[in-house]
Subunit: 332 residues, 2 copies
Amino acid sequence: MPELRRDPIIGRWVIIATERVKRPRDFRTEKQESRKGFCPFCKGFEDKTPPEILAYRTRDSRPNTPGWRVRVVPNKFPALRIEGGLGKKGDGIYDLMNGIGAHEVIIESPDHIVTNTELSNEHMVEVLWAYRDRMIDLKKDSRFSYGLLFKNVGMAAGASLEHAHTQLIVMPIVPRTVNAEMEGGRRFYNYRGRCIFCDMIIQEAADRKRVVLETEHYISFSPFAARFPFETWIVPKRHSSCFENIQKVEIEDLAETLKRTLKKIEVTLEMPPYNYVIHTSPFDQGELPYYHWHIEIIPRLTKVAGFEWGTGFYINPVTPEDAAEFLGQIEA
Amino acid sequence: MPELRRDPIIGRWVIIATERVKRPRDFRTEKQESRKGFCPFCKGFEDKTPPEILAYRTRDSRPNTPGWRVRVVPNKFPALRIEGGLGKKGDGIYDLMNGIGAHEVIIESPDHIVTNTELSNEHMVEVLWAYRDRMIDLKKDSRFSYGLLFKNVGMAAGASLEHAHTQLIVMPIVPRTVNAEMEGGRRFYNYRGRCIFCDMIIQEAADRKRVVLETEHYISFSPFAARFPFETWIVPKRHSSCFENIQKVEIEDLAETLKRTLKKIEVTLEMPPYNYVIHTSPFDQGELPYYHWHIEIIPRLTKVAGFEWGTGFYINPVTPEDAAEFLGQIEA
């Protein structure tokens, strides 16, 4: 059973895997199942994954057989386990609990594609519905506090299989960054009486120098204090703290906005490794006036980012204005 | 002139370089001067670096010529510039200031060594004195708030030159992680009346299951909630919030403790890329009862750490207890 441990100084929770490492080198060997000559996420290999949790499939097809368009399965090597109690306890000054949660994989296509920008708009809409449906379902479990939807594209971004997929980790705690964002949002709200993200949208839409693209419902831009070269955020124009509460027309627009934004990054940087993460509010909160869900896209270009993990201090060699200009020029 | 920009939501400051990137690919080409056939940090190539700021050298040798043992020079590609005012200003909801600060390189040996574990204890002591001397000197400048001493070993850890060196970035703001640690320490102090790091030392020294090594003045251990495999901290037993206030006997012990701890990591993991960072209190604070300086060593082993940058949420595949056991077994 994995363990969730809390750093006693800054309160950061960490998942500690408990599978025993036999030799120090063992964990350096990353699992590369695709090297076995087949991809377990491709149609026809449904028996190579754990049984599906959800699939959008043709009416006459049976579960765990071909006929699906989007398929959700438990992660074969889950960071957290679904069964059991939280077992919160102390150990002197330390706090820990069982590594309870969910770790699912949303397989975005039955065909072996490496990026979801290859999907049709209609197909991408279904991928986003799968994001939402799984969040809604797992939210019902009172043990869980947060659902983290994220995507790793390319080995250097942490992907162990290249077939386009998204991960969902649902956990009994709220990640530090989300707490920090909510606290910052609350501070601004208490002082100014408005949502800081909404203010940011107004300023970016007026300035235009960091805008990558704008649609009816979204604005994509390079954030003013971007940590990474070509970091790009997609923010919904309508205020909502909660991704799962997205409207149907908004999900249709998001499919296009996300695809176009990613395509611009892929073309400009020649298919770089990247991550994207959906930042949304915790499960136990209703709609909050001071928080605003959004997507953060981070191309993984520089190794220069050496000490940042340890310090929270970043050096970005590309100005957000330059990045937005490069991305803006690309047709997508 | 580089720019310091503040994220309006969580208040993180980021250095934005302003050298214009001509093509998106430009910044991906990492500078590899050592490939030119010589190393600018080796003795005999003193004219290939900016003029030295400090050097411990034989009495009869002249500045910027051989004869030095430890040499400090400005970084040739500085993230921050030493000259100018802070120029703090706003831009709508955003805050920014000039990228003022210092960016120095401490060259740890005139010989081309790739790790400071190859140094004699006496030589390592001088490296640590150079750390301290530069902090003390830069602290006098009232524009500056924090001095960050860190080391990148290996390309994957961000080192662009392999010759053993440490970097010092002195800046007009305090990094987020330091603020978070001080806040956590203050909270514990207000509640329990003690330093949380001091409590941690007591518990680790009693438990012993995460101890890597212990000397008269220091304890090295794998932290309870380690974010990374084989992450190791070195914490001084005597309470002090400020690295620069280190006593002479403590600096002698630290040279040995740091070398031995790094050696254990290098042997166990077969010379992995790694970073270490000295966490110390801000310049404008005196000795604080609730903060405790220490060194955090982070081997850079896993690429799995994909989305952590964006979320502050970590999955560590090696338990700190296993890591400490492996490291403890190595003679060093």
